[in-house]
Symmetry: D3
Subunit: 247 residues, 6 copies
């Protein structure tokens, strides 16, 4: 169930069966010469919808903009400042809490979001922890990266080994190819496996990773592998969600 | 062209031909008993993509969350505070300006966004107007509501007359039916044409408009009318965009 | 009644008869070669005081600074950022709500304030809409531009027709001449009717409108016309206020 | 010269002779049973205009709202949060600095503003102190309370001795009586000299000072004493301003 | 008692005897050629611990960073913006208030903090003063500078007379020498007594006070004088604290 | 070298040899019945000073307050909101960058800080990444937890095995016992090994972990083990710092 495609009476009915919602969060940022700018949002959204079906869970609108300051050296990348993203997540959670939602399962497609999303959870909790007397209904937030389960990690290892890398990875590119086969790109990757390393701001990132990839050979991606990764992620996350939402 | 489905070198190439981008902005809020919660985002996104094709323009990711505080009395509605939405729009514009984008055409699906989006433009401009010496490249922002053109207004009048109303209107519902025919809902609307009036906060809104609609008979919507509205809006806005982007 | 000229026991007594207050809001910004920098604040304040007398309403202190970023290319203009103005209006409303005021009628003298003031209302309402359980006393805010009524529009049309323009208009200059006859200025306006058009930031504004006026021939202003405009505005707004405050 | 009553070319001309401006700042808060709510703004504005004439100085619009949180227990009092007032003062100074103003002389009518105004100066300076390389034109801000000079202190002592107190003082009430003779109020003050002491928030203040006055016998005020205080303050501050503006 | 060296059950026990806490606040900023960068934090912390022992009071962790924008022209100086320091103090007070603390005695080592700390108190109080209905337990904040008492002022006068100055004073340097005898520095001070005057931002400060001192001959400091100053300050402040905490 | 115990000319000299600084960051929060409230700050500070000596590195003042919202159910715990901590870290880095520091090595003692400190780094970088043209000197920030190295992990495993847990761990308590032998506490821990699990806000935390510990048997701590942990951590981190600072 997508929240966007329901009416409010349908949401009201859903709330009688569950207090949990899945919120896909991605990013809009360069993913190298053949990865799509929307890769992280597409992965999060695609898998979230699969999980929604598998677990009869409501899926909210995709937060397509994330914390991507390090990618701003490449055209088309958009970043929210951490402070902005914290405000966005706070407003989402507070809005839905108004209606009785109590569990917020953020399905994440972007490693760069992890710290800021966690900080946002703390900001939300802090408002409640600092509030003197009242004991408001408990809110529970969780961040789950789509690639996080043992099954998906295993599959990635089998498929790509060391060429998976950490940005513009063949696994995430594969999922976008599965989701948007009409948007498969090709370009010569030189070197095939991109350099590894760390980075600070956008200028430093571009200096270290001239075509945008980190340690990845995106060209190994195929839509078929994307389908397998999608299925593995949906199965693992649906199981996790079901348990967490009931816990 | 959807930004999400391009690579950064493709965006780099686009920037050699145009400095403009279309940014759909909607809201996630109740639209009465048969209107979808995603109505405003769906309308903005659907029409923006049509305009993108018609005008060879780049279309950014949809800002699916808007200023919807007055709808928070209905389950599923999510609102950004105005101050949060201003920060989001500032970050989007500043990110894209970093790459050479200079014109930002926000295609809007939600009347409740208008004031805050305009204030956000002023916040963005103010940073430049207050900056002492430098003369940075000029940024130009525009807000265009999808229903704003004479042609669309005329068509709405023909189709629905007074039953169009101002929230959960048959015209916006029709566009979502055209875009998502599998998600067409039905329910008894009582009264068929909802009351009119003004509102302040969420409690006041729900008191005045018990099922969420304002002045509208959403049940008049049809997917076929949605197609006609879509086509009229795309044609009008593509023409406006072309002229504005070149101006 | 001006709040500034009352004591707190007098305000306490007023609150037993009314929960409404008029708050004039203007701007401090260039108004062309003969318009005063305080034009918008003077118009709002002068008319608000007239309305206060006509409707036995309390009139708060004038918010003399508004959102005027586009005028910062001209000496003497002062702008609040939209985010600052939102904070100011929130603090005003929350302060007065503390004492039992429930209706806030902002009488506005500056078109550039409209979006930000509306966003401020939403920010104020949002705090209440997001608050979970409590049902606090309803607050109601309204923005009324002094030039907004049919009667005033008609009079402006008769007096100035197309030469009214949209900034440094003869009508607003006339009201300041009526209010401050000792401060009537004269200068050669070239061309008499200023160019029309749109603008973004301060540099863009000054480029497009070299002497600060937009579409207006300020030289047509006379104190006598100012008196007529004042009277028409006071009558129309007092009627509107009375009805709204009682509604 | 009042900024509000000048045109921008007149301000441009002024800037060729001086880079300094006087900015009156007051508050809108209870001043006991006979003191006006606008007392602090009226004192600051009245004296600032006198100084403007005496010293050929430009006088900006009065900041009529100050930091008055402790007075919120009394109807009609309006407070800006310190963080809001800091933002307002920053925007004022940055706006005027854009045109070449370099010296900002805040003429203050409210003791409760002193800490926040000083913090605002530091916030403004901090932005410059933290800016890496550039050496922007130096800005210089000063806070001057109207009652601060030796001459005024001496006169207050002569006039009221210990009955001056520290809030709703006969000296400030006298100045408002001189400025607005039509708004002179009377009421029985019981006790004639109000209690002294300290306070924290609004509830604490009202508990300690039931009619709003601190240590003052406001009833000793006369318009004639107001005139003398006004003249003494104008003379002392005009001398200080001249020296400071030239320094 | 240092909070840092207690367990939470010990704090719980303390709260059964007192609702007050001492919070040392200093700064991290240049103190001339022989004064330590930590001077203000060291003075506040050292004296606070003495007061804690003398008055059986709990002493919180030292806020070692203060408002020091004017010192940023000298290596090693760190400043919080006033708005940041206000947020820090608000979070500290709100955290401790959560556990039942009601009295917050800030023992200050830095003149530059005074305005911002006072503004922070007002920001904290304002949140309560603006809150409509509830009457939360009263919070009471106090700022006490270590040098503020008559006894300490007298001793400083005896020891240093005019050579005390106002920054990098021999008295504060002496206290650090008493506290950290291993970190006593020496350097030629030229001139021995530094110039006096005012300042705005960091560039202005460095221009006016080339070696960082204002009006002080830091070289007069001795650890023995430091001990005497320490003892005088502890005695005076412990007495003040005891009375205030019990009041 | 402690920054607090140097003069500014000594810092200036240091900057000729290194652009790096170590900044200890901890927290002020409950650590169970026998752990000190200052545990995290003490561990970070103690080890940072050891590293400073071992690596000839400058050590800044300890940030003793961290993100500890979940501990606010226990007396004495103080939390900064994530947004406040981000502002503090930004101000620290920007202040020191003003003098030529380019590398900021945050030595962390509190797991709850990790996400927010990382978000703060991104906020700092984002300001630079969003800045249009200029290429400012590169800043590099690193977060290093004291327990993070293989050597320390190995030692902890040997010493405590599963009884290490994750809050109020015997290893961190041991380090505080080594650092402050006079403040060693004892109390009956029941059960000896605390429960494990997750938490959200302060109420949830206290419900799940009644005495504040998570999975730890703090009573296993000894000052001698603290010394060994200290030495292992200093050695590992000094090596890491040297390489990073030179990289």
């Amino acid at each position: 169930m997508q929240l966007q495609l329901l009416t409010w009476p349908e949401v009201e009915a859903y709330l009688r069966t569950s207090r949990a919602i899945i919120l896909p969060i991605g990013s809009t940022e360069q993913h190298g010469p053949i990865g799509l700018i929307g890769t992280d949002a597409i992965c999060a959204e695609t898998i979230a919808r699969g999980v929604g079906e598998a677990a009869d869970a409501l899926v909210g609108p995709t937060v397509a903009l994330g914390m991507a300051q390090h990618h701003l050296g490449f055209p088309g990348s958009i970043s929210l400042r951490p402070s902005t993203l914290i405000a966005v997540l706070r407003d989402i959670v507070e809005s839905l809490a108004r209606h009785g939602f109590e569990r917020f399962y953020f399905l994440n497609g972007h490693g760069g979001n992890i710290a800021t999303v966690s900080a946002a959870f703390s900001e939300i909790y802090a408002a409640r922890s600092l509030a003197a007397a009242v004991d408001p209904p408990a809110l529970k937030c969780k961040l789950q990266n789509w690639w996080q389960s043992a099954a998906v990690q295993q599959l990635i290892k089998e498929l790509y080994g060391d060429a998976e890398g950490s940005h513009a990875t063949p696994s995430e590119v594969a999922i976008t190819q599965f989701a948007y086969p009409a948007a498969i790109k090709s370009a010569r990757l030189d070197p095939p496996v991109a350099p590894r390393g760390s980075f600070t701001d956008a200028a430093d990132y571009r200096r270290n990773f001239p075509d945008g990839r980190i340690g990845a050979n995106s060209a190994l991606a195929t839509p078929e592998a994307g389908r397998r990764l999608y299925e593995a992620a949906v199965a693992a996350i649906a199981a996790d969600y079901r348990q967490w939402a009931a816990g």
